[in-house]
Amino acid sequence: MCQVEEEYHGPLQREELPSVSKQCMKCKEAGAAVVIRAGDAYCRGCFKEYFIHKFRAMLGKNRLIFPGEKVLLAVSGGPSSCSMLSQVQEGLSQNAHKKLRFLPGIVYIDEGGAVGQSVEDRRRTVDQLQAVFRATGFPFLVVPLEQVLDLPSSVVLSAPGAPEWKAGAYKAAVDHFLLSDGSSGVTAQQQQETPPLEVQEAHTHSLQRLLGSARTLTAREELLNTLRQHLLVHTARSAGYSKVMLGDSCTRLAVKLLSSISLGRGAQLAHDTGFSDSRYGDIILVRPMRDYSAKEIAYYNRMFSVPSVFTAGLETKTADKSSIQRLTESFVTKLQADFPSTVSTIYRTSEKLQSCKSLASAGGDRCLLCVCALDTAAENASAFSATLISEQLSQTQSPEQSRPAPEAPPPASQCCSAVGGEACGNRGGGCCSSAEASEPPPLRSLLCYSCQLTIKDLSSEEVLPHYILSEAQRRLRRSQLREEIRDFLLEDEADEG
């Protein structure tokens, strides 16, 4: 009755507490320098090896980046994306063990205008980052977020992507690359010095008006994320890059997964948090840092002096409950402190998900903002239709009430007429069968569930950038047209762009 330990090994064998003065668990020679997880102490050398190997392994396992391909690294200046930059540098260096074989370029999106930084502050940040970028020898672009206002509408279209990778395609590409003098590919690249684009004050003002029109920080952040992504994709397209690398860490992705769930983006989760994101078709977003925790990255950056530059974001210095994203972040970090497996458990969920239901992804409509397949088909019994019903029932039945989506009459009508037949007619608005007049469907009908929530929080839809509004006009006209000729179409074919 005197055992305290209830483990399998004998009662006297206590698990040793991790302590800093321990030896490295890998080489068992050098003294440990960092403890990554409870019990995992590494020396400096082994930690570096482990960290570098992880990056290669992530790229090697997924076989998505072809040799000789142009890859754009999206660097925000934060620790994670700067660490990614240093890993690419490391992997391309001559003495690298397993050399990376793609052609990198860097892009920095300057969001200073969106968060209300002064011109001088913005310049200072850009200067600091340019020094970091110059040191890598890679070509780089500094793009102010204001440029998003001048994007073409094609950004929000999913371009016909590269054909499905055939089984042997990757291997063939590697062989081809090796035959055609692959060694000099990277070094031959010139570092082009593009002068940072001057930002017009008027542009900054319209950007601020756009973000300011969001009544909640939640919506403002969502909007900013969307705009940033559009600009990234556009920059990659126009500069001839086919992949964009994002620096999301495991911790970041766990927060993103949980906040995406809370924002109603369940259908888009795989796109938002997976290793690769092919929603734009020709440009594929890749997240090679998704195996590293924020802690590992911080240790590595400090030990090996990886430079990073602090840039304030929308949520900097805000309270926990200022937005859903911010709330989720503090929830996950606090839980992680008490239950150290929180982040990795949430993150592993993201690996088990796939993008949208297959039927919708085939060629159906995509959201005007996030370019994911729409998830707003009001099915029989769904949270979406239940919300619509609640809203209808709480309002006076006025004709101009907006309906987020063209609603199908409840398919349970046979049940409806059999069981509650008289009730349907008597109770005003009790049943949702009242046929809607053919008024022009609003912008919301072009959005996915979550983006509808974002737009709902805007004071006006008119402030959206021109490229979004004009594409919306085009789509609405097109669907109206389709409605008119509907009777003559033999099959309900998907609308071809």
Binding site: T216, L327, L353, A383, A386, G420, R427
Partner: protein, 343 residues
């Protein structure tokens, strides 16, 4: 100036709907709440004419409102259902005995037949006795697993076709969050389903007519209808980890009230990658209940209690199942691990 009801534009509004933010008068709120449950029942085709439906009644607000609304809608819309109340007595003195009194009053008020099944008669253990052996940690596991089976057994005794439970939107959203936090992809996939498909013999299909009703609105409904319900937390400490998820959900709701529905929407639209290993449904080799293992959870838990090894069913000890089935004794080492810890 008093705010007018946004629905009838006539009477004075008495409440702000937590779900939509609209101000409504009492009558319009009742109508909207009932109508929404009705729409859910219709849209999901939950019941067929002539079915016998057991309402899982605990005496709490959710099940009291459920019983009230089910009876009302059954009469108003002529569902043609035969309703009964089904209660489980876990044997928690000072808690369940009081709430069962409420259920008995409800039985009188709604004139519905009531069946009470107790843990003691089904398993030979009351929760009080279980807690005495297990302590206050993991006791909710026993209670939860046993209740699920107890409801099914009660339903079989009553010969009902379906059971409906009082799970509300908050419960469903909370479960989505919990399953993500625990990495339970199989449960994550099915936890948003409004009804369980007929899973096999010995299992009665269940559904959640209040799945899209906000907890706050259920309380408002019960309050304005002056329904008789029991509101006390269980005396055995609530599950700590779930508490985190619950607090998080409440915080989310305060930032954006639609969050609860948004999470359910997310859950309904998740799709799991092909090739992810999922547990396969089988039957328990001992009692024949559905189980993904050779023994169902409640048989393992019960075995643990009876052998004085309460931890047998906590955590994963699948490789011990064969030993339990063949009634073999466990080794000393295994026993030591599974005994409860006394400080």
């Amino acid at each position: 100036m008093p705010v007018l009801c946004s629905s009838c534009d006539d009477k004075r509004a008495v409440l702000k709907r937590p779900k939509t933010g609209h101000s409504l008068c009492k009558a319009c709120f009742f109508r909207a709440f009932e109508e929404e449950v009705h729409q859910t029942i219709l849209a999901a085709n939950l019941f067929k004419h002539g079915e016998i439906v057991g309402i899982a009644a605990s005496g709490g607000k959710d099940s009291t409102v459920l019983a009230h609304v089910m009876k009302l809608l059954n009469e108003r819309y002529n569902y043609g259902l035969e309703l009964m109340l089904l209660s489980v007595d876990e044997g928690i003195s000072g808690y369940r005995d009081d709430s069962l009194e409420t259920v008995k009053r409800n039985q009188q008020q709604y004139e519905l037949p009531l069946k009470i099944v107790s843990y003691e008669e089904l398993y030979g253990w009351t929760m009080d006795a279980i807690v005495k052996q297990v302590g206050l940690k993991n006791n909710c596991t026993f209670c939860g697993v046993f209740r699920r089976q107890a409801l099914d057994r009660g339903a079989l005794m009553l010969r009902v076709d379906k059971i409906c439970t009082g799970h509300n939107a908050d419960d469903v959203a909370e479960t989505v969050l919990m399953n993500i936090l625990r990495g339970d992809i199989a449960r994550l996939r099915r936890c948003t389903a409004i009804s369980t498909s007929s899973e096999g013999e010995g299992v009665v299909p269940r559904c959640k007519p209040l799945k899209y009703a906000y907890e706050k609105e259920i309380v408002l409904y019960a309050y304005f209808k002056k329904l008789d319900y029991f509101s006390t937390e269980c005396i055995y400490s609530p599950n700590a980890y779930r508490g985190h998820a619950r607090t998080f959900l409440k915080d989310l709701e305060s930032v954006r009230p639609s969050s609860i529905m948004d999470i359910i929407h997310s859950g309904e639209n998740l799709s799991v990658r092909e090739g992810v290993k999922m547990p396969v449904q089988g039957t328990c080799n001992r009692c024949g209940y559905i189980s993904s293992q050779t023994l169902c959870k409640s048989c393992v838990l019960l075995e643990g209690l009876n052998r004085g090894l309460p931890k047998l069913g906590i955590g994963k000890h699948h490789r011990l199942h064969d030993k339990i089935l063949t009634q073999q004794p466990l080794t000393e080492k295994e026993e030591r691990k599974l005994k409860s810890v006394n400080f």
